[in-house]
Symmetry: C2
Subunit: 353 residues, 2 copies
Amino acid sequence: MSTHAVLLAGGSGTRFWPLSRAQRPKQFLELVTDRTLLAETYARVAPLCGPPHTWVVCGRSHADAVRAALPELLPEHVLVEPAARNTAPAIGLAAVRALREDRDAVLLVLPSDHHIAHPDRFRQALQTAAGVAQHGDLVTLGIRPTRAETGYGYLRRGAERERGVFAVEAFVEKPDAATARGYLQDPRYSWNAGIFVFRADALLEALRRHLPAVHDGLARISADAASAGEIFPRLPSISIDYGVMEPESASTRRIALVAADDLGWSDVGSFAALPEVRKLDARGNALSGDALALECTDCVVLSEGGRLVTALGLDGLCVIDSGDALLVIPRDRAQDVRAVVEALKARGRGDKL
Amino acid sequence: MSTHAVLLAGGSGTRFWPLSRAQRPKQFLELVTDRTLLAETYARVAPLCGPPHTWVVCGRSHADAVRAALPELLPEHVLVEPAARNTAPAIGLAAVRALREDRDAVLLVLPSDHHIAHPDRFRQALQTAAGVAQHGDLVTLGIRPTRAETGYGYLRRGAERERGVFAVEAFVEKPDAATARGYLQDPRYSWNAGIFVFRADALLEALRRHLPAVHDGLARISADAASAGEIFPRLPSISIDYGVMEPESASTRRIALVAADDLGWSDVGSFAALPEVRKLDARGNALSGDALALECTDCVVLSEGGRLVTALGLDGLCVIDSGDALLVIPRDRAQDVRAVVEALKARGRGDKL
């Protein structure tokens, strides 16, 4: 089997400001270990696909950062999106390029900004998925929910095809809280973590069926690489979930779910998630750098700019120091970091964004 | 009348860390306005005593900072304590020096790290006090309490000698909370703010009576200035309150209190006090520098190192950025800044103290 890792590094979120910036989005941050999330993602699948079989798709302004984070990567395997068009065109671009090097390429498509506590189990799930995908199925990993999360899409399983491999009955939108509590109790529901496995040619075939404009554009780019800058930005901006997986699951049976349980998966969605994935002190604080937390409980205190950061008597607070900017926000409001970013934008503070 | 201002700038507290440092204690901080507390103190009494009649007593390591903060001061009026021996020797030193220039000097002795919202009323009280002191009395200003404060010493008035001028019945120790509530209701009690007015010769006479060792040491220093480095550090370390005013009030009637009400006096005791003395935004936040507070209430957010400091959704918190160090602490624990300082000391972090 010929597996290729496709790391999606085109993200540009604001939820980790002030650590994340336009030039340094989340996947380039050392949020969990002393390596970037991107480098961790690479290391996680390196035992399955070495550098010759690893691809990274990213925006133009991040290509240098990718090469710096992963110096072992082949330079031509850093695929630059001329414009951000969401995951369907991005993955299609990787499929076109991988196919040119390997007619039997099976792609392991991985977001580059997640954390997985048990990479061995993760690789096992990917290998199961690759085995299923080899025969032409589009495969997705289903993560067993550990809380009634309303921020993710869900997958509903159908019949078990083989041990741990299921038909996909439906892609389900983000639920409300009551529905999410129901999903948590119902073994048919998994989190959709955006991890997909398929043959490159099967993905392109599915693109041809469901997103012909994307397929045709990629075919033209494949024939004339120089045309990418003109063609790619005009492709429809659409995710692989909505553009391919959902319609494919509705129209064919060639879509499968591999149950990936107990991976210790986290999408590291905000500063509030860091205590779930980092080492904590005796009072549940996640600390980094030159940080001193006295009588603090359940706090996140990150000093990433080399400065001394001290806290006394805090409970459930995030104190994030990037060196040139600081944010203090309650953990239960960590999602609202974007409000700070918006306020800075409105004040013309692009120097800090 | 010949009034001289004596600004006591020997303090070296830790309650404003990380803004205050060994080399830059509170009186050198711009805590209320864009001038240091020392410069504000000077400006407050400058209409009564110009530079030729102004003295500053400070530690050796702060003499340069005093000269920088008050360039108009006569160089020989910066009196350096060879060692910190509390206020009785410090004020005695100023009395000796002022007396040599002015046989009739009346000293206005002022802590250099307080804030006074109504300097006109303050100067009026000082002038009243100087009028009383001219005849040889030792005078103290009595501040009308505005809360049941347990952190200050109190003065108990006796008979009214003339309008607004009282005998002092007793110097009273810091009370417990219940006692402080009683004092707040009782017009006889005032806060002892450490502001004193007396003739230089009367003070030296009182020192001779109650602290002969201090008096003799100062006489020797007066005769031979070069001996100060050897003699001064051996003087007893004692405050003017305990060493002179209390015994004087017990033994003579030559001690008076001038009622100083509605001065808007504050000793600016900690970060928690800043909202009482600074301009606030609509939600009661005291902000400085490049600070952005969104949905915050009753917070103190100071950016004194030029960095961007942002906060969202905080209530009653102090976020203090000095540039090379940061402190986050609840307002109601601002007194515990010293615990942070102690912890840093214990960790060998003299670089930040």
